[in-house]
């Protein structure tokens, strides 16, 4: 890659990318607008209130976990166990609520369980020094098996508490509760990453772990925090999903980890650590969920729900790579 070729104006996508080189996430914003516009023109139901709420609710489920995953990836680690943990957490939440007859107890049980899974992942990675990819694949297997040891079938709702149903399907004012929860999580993680020492250290750690350690950062504790945060957020999502499905489903969450990771990397977070933003993740989640929804709204063959995101992820990342390189010149 000779540097002279990068100075020359490039046709097509390259020029568009160049025009927006100043804005991070520009590619995704344009993509999202194009998608929404095109789908709306083809099918007016797309921008109906009911559909917007459906999209936002689905996005909320992914975004909450993706916020934790973004933090982890920025710090140079990854967690593939979130899908399996999601299913298990839902069963724990429903079971605890059935036994106690109390929604707060059920919610706390969900958070405690999922937080403990995060802690376990974090300890295996930081203390036993197992690569996080393999460690969390192992945790995924343990959880997938464990959930069936815990319950042979879906945990049914026997408590019939309206507050429990409200977590997933309820509204506060005009806003669905899952969307508000996602907004709160988003704001908290955004501030933590942008405006606290925790955030600054996490970026430093991911960018250069050796330098981070030499400059006295408590690397292990930072990483552990990332895993526990991700775990707790899985707890929140598990609770919402369990409420939405009105049952603790051991079969839920299949492939959820791939959706989350796809959204985060689509949002421009680097897998190598040290680079990424939560706004990007938000856009990544929305793009993927709009595509998913749009294919049904347009009544296309649902097999495209696999093909289109695959192409979009690769293309968007390529455009982003081009944009970053042009800005670097």
């Amino acid at each position: 890659m000779a540097s002279s070729s990068q100075i020359q104006p490039q046709p097509g996508a390259g020029r568009i990318a160049a025009a927006m080189a100043g804005q991070p996430q520009a590619v995704l914003i344009v993509l999202l607008l194009l998608l929404c516009g095109a789908i709306s023109l083809a099918a007016a139901q797309f921008y109906s209130l009911a559909n917007i709420i459906a999209i936002l609710r689905q996005s909320a489920l992914v975004l909450i976990v993706a916020a934790g995953m973004t933090t982890l990836l920025i710090g140079g680690e990854v967690d593939l166990s979130v899908g399996a943990s999601l299913a298990f957490t839902g069963c724990v939440a429903m079971d605890a609520t059935n036994r106690s007859g109390s929604v707060p107890v059920g919610a706390l049980a969900a958070l405690a369980f999922a937080g403990a899974v995060g802690l376990f992942n974090g300890l295996v990675v930081t203390r036993l020094r197992v690569n996080s990819l393999i460690a969390t694949i192992a945790t995924m297997m343990i959880l997938q098996g464990g959930v069936y040891l815990y319950t042979r079938e879906a945990v049914q709702n026997q408590h019939h508490l309206a507050a429990f149903t409200g977590i997933g399907a309820g509204y506060l004012g005009a806003f669905p509760i899952p969307v508000l929860l996602a907004a709160a999580v988003f704001a908290a993680v955004y501030i933590a990453l942008r405006h606290t020492l925790f955030g600054r250290y996490t970026y430093a750690l991911g960018a250069n772990p050796i330098a981070a350690r030499l400059s006295g950062l408590r690397v292990r504790r930072l990483k552990l925090a990332g895993f526990v945060i991700t775990g707790l957020l899985v707890g929140v999502t598990g609770l919402i999903l369990c409420s939405l499905m009105n049952a603790g489903q051991p079969t839920a969450g299949r492939g959820f980890e791939l959706t989350v990771i796809a959204a985060v990397i689509l949002g421009g977070t680097s897998l190598a650590g040290g680079r990424g933003s939560l706004i990007g993740t938000l856009l990544g989640v929305l793009v993927l969920k709009v595509i998913d929804n749009g294919i049904i709204i347009l009544r296309w063959n649902q097999d495209f729900q696999m093909v289109v995101p695959g192409v979009v992820i690769v293309a968007a990342t390529w455009l982003d790579t081009v944009r970053v390189r042009r800005r670097a010149v």
């Binding site: 890659m1 295996v124 036993l128 020094r129 197992v130 690569n131 990819l133 393999i134 460690a135 694949i137 192992a138 945790t139 995924m140 297997m141 343990i142 997938q144 098996g145 464990g146 959930v147 069936y148 040891l149 791939l258 990771i261 796809a262 990397i265 680097s270 897998l271 063959n301 097999d303 495209f304 729900q305 696999m306 093909v307 995101p309 695959g310 192409v311 992820i313 690769v314 990342t317 390529w318 790579t321």
Partner: protein
């Protein structure tokens, strides 16, 4: 005596030492715990079952060592079976079918390699994309049904189901041959040196005059072709192109490769380590099944053993430093 002590030292010194001990421990345990585990028939069965992950694992390990990632093998397994069966049904020729499968595999490898090595798009994203696109493509093309083998060639049946001298399954033979060939290439040929250099320190490799993108590109093509070989063997064992074949296969392979000590950050790893990783997981699955352990326990135990094996490996490696 001195010879055996020597052997022991070699075993514990080499990076594969702890893994070999792990494998022997797994085999020893099941030999004692199950009365049907330790038979020639069962051991050769497992070697045959392990061969798919072994073949694909060679390629994935090479890509990992070159500093990139390839997770597309699961969908590729299902995708290459389609041209194989379709061409074979049309022409009645196994050779043409295999050629068609390799052609598709090669194209996928070229696409992966071009996007990742030359356009420099993150390879996890590229191959995750191919994973989705290929699986969706298979579903669209087949309308979500399997394509049966109507040619019914005996050679095609034998390929995945027959045994060399009635003992060793052909897929195991193929995997062993490929393992030896590529272990030799990686250890003793310039290509291997280049791959290690490109993954270990790409800047230095570039300054030393290596064409790093070309090396990485070659890694992706090799990886896709090896996954194609696994796909052909699987198609023969299934007697058809099954649209759901290989779902989650990429997880198995990546788990085995990383268990085998191949570093995700590039430049480190050995194919024998990868092979040991595959064998540990395969014997584990087989042995746990022989003990009549329910799936849920199998998953829990396998997960726990992966963590134990990798931390043991890490511990050993750190001790050496």
């Amino acid at each position: 005596m001195p010879q055996s002590r020597n052997l022991l030292r070699v075993l514990t010194r080499r990076s594969e030492g702890p893994l070999l001990l792990c494998l022997l421990a797994v085999i020893g345990f099941f030999a004692l715990a199950s009365d049907t585990f330790l038979s020639v028939r069962n051991i050769t069965n497992v070697l045959g079952q392990a061969s798919l992950a072994m073949m694909a694992g060679i390629g994935v390990a090479i890509v990992f060592i070159s500093g990139e990632v390839d997770v597309s093998c699961g969908s590729l397994l299902a995708a290459v079976a389609i041209p194989l069966i379709v061409v074979m049904n049309a022409t009645n020729s196994l050779a043409l079918g295999i050629a068609a499968a390799l052609a598709l595999g090669g194209v996928v490898g070229v696409v992966n390699g071009f996007l990742a090595a030359y356009l420099r798009i993150n390879s996890l994203i590229v191959t995750l994309g191919t994973l989705f696109v290929l699986r969706g493509g298979v579903y669209l093309y087949t309308g979500q049904t399997a394509i049966p083998d109507d040619a019914g060639l005996e050679s095609f049946f034998q390929l995945g189901n027959g045994r060399l001298a009635g003992v060793l399954p052909y897929p195991a033979v193929a995997a062993l041959v490929l393992l030896l060939v590529f272990a030799y290439v990686m250890g003793h040929r310039p290509f291997g040196r280049h791959v290690f250099a490109a993954g270990g320190n790409p800047d230095v490799a570039r300054l030393a005059g290596y064409d790093v993108p070309r090396i990485k590109f070659a890694g992706f093509v090799v990886s896709a072709l090896l996954a194609t070989c696994a796909g052909i063997m699987l198609a023969s064992r299934l007697g058809s192109a099954v649209h759901v074949a290989g779902l989650g296969f990429e997880f198995q392979v990546v788990a085995a490769v990383v268990l085998g000590g191949v570093s995700l950050s590039g430049g480190v790893g050995s194919l024998f380590g990868m092979a040991l990783g595959v064998l540990i997981l395969s014997f584990l699955a087989n042995g746990l099944g022989m003990l009549d352990l329910a799936t849920e326990w199998q998953l829990v135990v396998t997960g726990a053993i992966i963590i134990a094996a990798v931390s043991f490996d890490e511990f050993k490696r750190r001790q050496k430093l």
